[in-house]
């Protein structure tokens, strides 16, 4: 590290009213891969923007950023000379692939643009080179892809284009700001492999920003942990993950590790992290060593195994006849999309789902976006009408035309939603929100308030929360309110739709623990939908794996995870980043 590629000294970022990043020092050696991890608001993205000279105009950066081979401090350079470095000597891939590309320009032209701009290729040569680059980032049919507009490509494909743009001029430094956070796990895995491959091939220095410890362990050699605008700890991946020194790092690590539990079987939180033994100690034989050769965006589609083999087999844990509280048989859902006056096309969201959950069971449903898991939930709760098939909840056969049946059913089944910001009406007080399900049950005002008080305490909020409004709470607190609303009717079944996917890791552990406590205390039957295999493994006794509207595999959680029968399940398990897998790799 005598001659760093990038040296950042005393970098401070502030807005007019406050300091967002406190004096920060780090260096990246040529070809080194450095991870920057932290939760939302930690200042990690601002740091990367400052290095690139892309801070929003209302923020100011002070200190020094030096790039090998360039004289002087980048921060004091003119916009014009800074721009000359961007895209040529250092480049960046952003988090949101859906909006990062110009919607009106063919992607091939957008790749060629960066070469024409820096005069590394011009005219037709640039277009040809763009197609080569698209090939290098493994886009199928690169010359056709070059002619596509961004909206015609999937998120993973767009992120590959962004990478092609970033690498076009073989930069010395690549900055990735949460490049895979918006992607499905199998796609994420493939994109991470690609970044790995390309950076290795070119000897590019990497600054990788993420909130996900497992991802950082997989890609980087060295890690910086950031919290509230400060780097609290720096070290090699091994050091940080096996012997974290700072209390925040330990907490983050403990809360991220979904296989580690305390004596009560609950996840560690930042508060209980001192009991956490460390990632290497917790590593068990459960980790399946995997070859991830098959993990492309649409990977397992190529290997359709006979799905019927596993599905109808009566699994002792899930199906046991009379004891089933929920039973779905042959559920099909077809959406008809209108396109113009005459045309319409049909989308099969669910292609015949058989699923049963016994009373007291904890059923996890995992799948990637578009797998139909949300549609399944809507049908289960009577919000959508199945095109064919039947759903039974308790004694009620769900039929949206039968209001009294629905009313009875919904007393038994309540939902916790994904988005902590959209699931609470901003204009209602917390007491009104929690009490709302009771209003249709003709419960009087005083009793409603009484039961809302009870629930607020049960989910660990203060009583004065009742008179406040949703915007006064954090994401985790809102999910608690959402859980309180779901449980106020004393349902037998709790359906949770990705309830922790929008939360930071440390908050996630708290909410998952709360859910586990409440499921025990109220003897609930749980249906838990998630894209995150680790969360489901921790919380659920059974699991169903969905893909493209079908359940490809279901059974006991351990069994499905450890000996996946279906190729897709194998791919999914392999692609899911875990700290242990990354460390042992």
């Amino acid at each position: 590290m005598t001659d760093p590629l990038l040296a950042v000294r005393d970098l401070t970022i502030s807005s007019a009213s406050q300091t967002l990043v406190h004096p920060l020092n780090f260096a990246i050696a040529p070809g080194e891969r450095v991870g920057l991890i932290g939760e939302s608001g930690s200042g990690k993205s601002l740091t990367s923007s400052a290095v690139m000279g892309l801070l929003p105009s209302e923020l100011t950066a002070q200190g020094e950023v030096a790039l090998a081979g360039e004289s002087g401090n980048l921060l004091t350079q003119s916009e014009k000379s800074f721009a000359r470095l961007r895209g040529s000597r250092m480049s960046m891939v952003f988090q949101e692939p859906m909006s990062a590309l110009n919607p009106l320009m063919r992607v091939g032209d957008q790749v060629a643009e960066v070469m024409r701009l820096h005069r590394t290729a011009s005219g037709d040569a640039a277009s040809k080179r763009a197609i080569e680059l698209l090939d290098q980032v493994h886009l199928p049919d690169p010359s056709a892809a070059a002619k596509a507009y961004p909206h015609q490509l999937s998120g993973g494909q767009r992120q590959r284009i962004m990478l092609a743009i970033a690498l076009a001029n073989s930069p010395d430094l690549l900055i990735c700001d949460e490049p895979t956070t918006a992607l499905d796990v199998t796609v994420q895995s493939a994109v991470l492999d690609l970044i790995d491959e390309q950076v290795t091939a070119r000897g590019t220095g990497l600054l990788f920003i993420t909130h996900d410890l497992a991802v950082v362990a997989r890609v980087c050699e060295r890690v910086m942990v950031m919290n509230a605008g400060r780097v609290v700890e720096t070290g090699t991946v091994d050091e940080i993950f096996t012997a974290p020194q700072h209390e925040y790092t330990r907490g983050l690590l403990a809360a991220s590790d979904l296989t580690a539990t305390d004596s009560r079987g609950r996840l560690f939180t930042i508060a209980t992290a001192d009991q956490y033994a460390g990632a290497d100690q917790q590593a068990t034989a459960a980790e399946v060593p995997v070859t991830s050769e098959q993990t492309h965006e649409s990977a397992p589609a190529a290997a359709p195994e006979p799905t019927t083999a596993s599905a109808p087999e009566p699994e002792p844990a899930t199906a046991s006849g009379a004891a089933d509280l929920i039973e779905m048989t042959g559920v099909v859902k077809t959406f008809t999309r209108r396109a113009g006056l005459f045309r319409s096309h049909r989308v099969e969201a669910l292609k015949g789902i058989d699923l049963s959950v016994r009373a007291g069971g904890r059923m996890g449903i995992v799948g990637e976006s578009g797998s139909g898991k949300s549609t399944l939930l809507s049908i289960l709760s009577g919000l959508e009408v199945p095109t064919a098939g039947a759903v039974r909840v308790g004694d009620v056969v769900v039929d949206p035309d039968d209001q009294s049946g629905l009313t009875a059913m919904r007393r038994d089944l309540q939902i916790v939603f994904q988005d902590p910001y959209a699931s609470l009406d901003p204009r209602m007080s917390v007491a009104e929100i929690i009490g709302e399900p009771l209003r249709s049950m003709q419960v009087g005002r005083d009793e409603r308030l009484g039961r809302a008080e009870e629930m607020v305490e049960a989910v660990g909020l203060d009583l004065d929360a009742l008179t406040r409004f949703p915007h006064q709470f954090s994401g985790g607190q809102r999910q608690r309110i959402s859980i309180a609303r779901a449980l106020v009717t004393r349902p037998r079944i709790l359906v949770a739709d990705e309830p922790v996917s929008a939360l930071d890791v440390s908050v996630r552990a708290q909410v998952l623990n709360l859910l586990a406590d409440l499921v025990d205390d109220y003897s609930l039957t749980l249906v838990f939908v998630s894209h995150d295999l680790g969360v489901v493994r921790h919380l659920c006794s059974d699991v169903a794996v969905m893909r493209s509207g079908e359940i490809v595999e279901q059974g006991r959680t351990d069994q499905v995870y450890d000996e996946p029968a279906h190729a897709y399940t194998r791919a999914l398990v392999a692609a899911s980043p875990t700290i242990h897998a990354a460390l042992s790799a």
Binding site: S15, S40, L46, S440
Partner: protein, 301 residues
């Protein structure tokens, strides 16, 4: 007439996370407040003029003062007099009444019909019903406010009544569209799904969740429509097809001033100024409200 610019600030900055946007947020918050206050003051001027005119005017409105025709500004007649010797300030005050009346009635008609239609179109699962409402809307959009008002004056005869009705009807599509797109947005929120699983009826959901959450949009639209109606009524009266004599109206005062442009330009300037004040006031009020109610400008805890 002219549509006061209302570039819908789509709430696109969905949870960008970090407190990055704090500084500009606070700044635009201040300009929003300033916009709102200036708008409120301008509208207040017009409202006060109209209210005061019921109890006091500088001169009796229809007192023909042959000796004092076409006077300039003086202590007795601060704004001068017109060709009949009537006091311009008095007429401006009385004209404020018609301006506000037309605005209130037109906005009332448009809101009472347009909002329920829009909410219905946004909430119904029957595609034909929302289709019917929206196609009806498209048809009505082909008749701009002033054109419909001219047609009404042709059919029913010119007057304030037909003008208000026409302006109100012509503004229905704007309200229906705003209400529908707001409703569609709200219906996609998870708290609506929560309310449905809580067994709330569609009507209860509409009243408790949808309407309160789109109220901001509606109020902004009302303010903008008010400004539009003031402009359209002035134009209509200017054509002689709106408010009829002897009721005072700013548009007609402008029209009557045209023959004295060379000698007495203030006859045009006063009513013109007050039309502009009223329109500017309601536009600013709308803009200020939009920014105040914009959730992306509202700080999170």
């Amino acid at each position: 007439m002219t549509t006061p610019a209302s570039p819908a600030s789509t709430a696109s900055a969905a949870a960008t996370g970090a407190p990055v946007a704090d500084a500009p947020r606070r700044r635009s918050r201040r300009t929003a407040d300033l916009t709102f206050i200036v708008g409120l003051v301008l509208v207040g001027i017009v409202v006060v003029l109209a209210l005061v005119s019921f109890v006091w005017t500088p001169h009796p409105p229809t007192q023909p003062d042959a000796a004092g025709r076409l006077q300039g500004m003086s202590a007795a007649h601060p704004f001068g007099t017109d060709r009949y010797g009537r006091d311009t300030l008095t007429w401006i005050m009385l004209g404020a009444r018609v301006t506000l009346l037309v605005g209130i009635v037109a906005v009332g008609i448009a809101m009472l019909i347009g909002v329920p239609l829009g909410v219905l179109a946004g909430m119904t699962r029957a595609r034909w019903l929302s289709g019917l409402i929206m196609r009806g809307n498209d048809l009505l959009l082909a008749f701009p406010a002033l054109l419909l008002a001219i047609v009404f004056s042709a059919v029913f005869g010119p007057g304030t009544g037909p003008a208000m009705a026409a302006l109100g009807i012509a503004a229905i599509p704007a309200f229906a569209r705003v209400a529908r797109s707001g409703t569609l947005q709200i219906m996609g929120r998870e708290y609506i799904a929560a309310a449905r699983t809580a067994n709330r009826t569609p009507l209860q959901i509409a009243i408790q969740h949808v309407v309160p959450n789109i109220a901001g949009l509606i109020i902004v639209q009302a303010s903008v429509t008010f400004a539009l109606s003031v402009l359209a009524e002035a134009g209509l009266s200017f054509l002689g097809l709106g408010t009829q004599p002897p009721t005072p109206s700013w548009g007609r005062m402008l029209q009557e001033s045209q023959q004295f442009l060379g000698s007495r330009p203030e006859l045009a300037i006063w009513p013109g100024l007050f039309i502009a004040i009223a329109v500017l006031g309601f536009n600013l009020l709308g803009d200020g409200l939009r920014d105040r109610l914009d959730p992306t400008l509202r700080g999170r805890s």
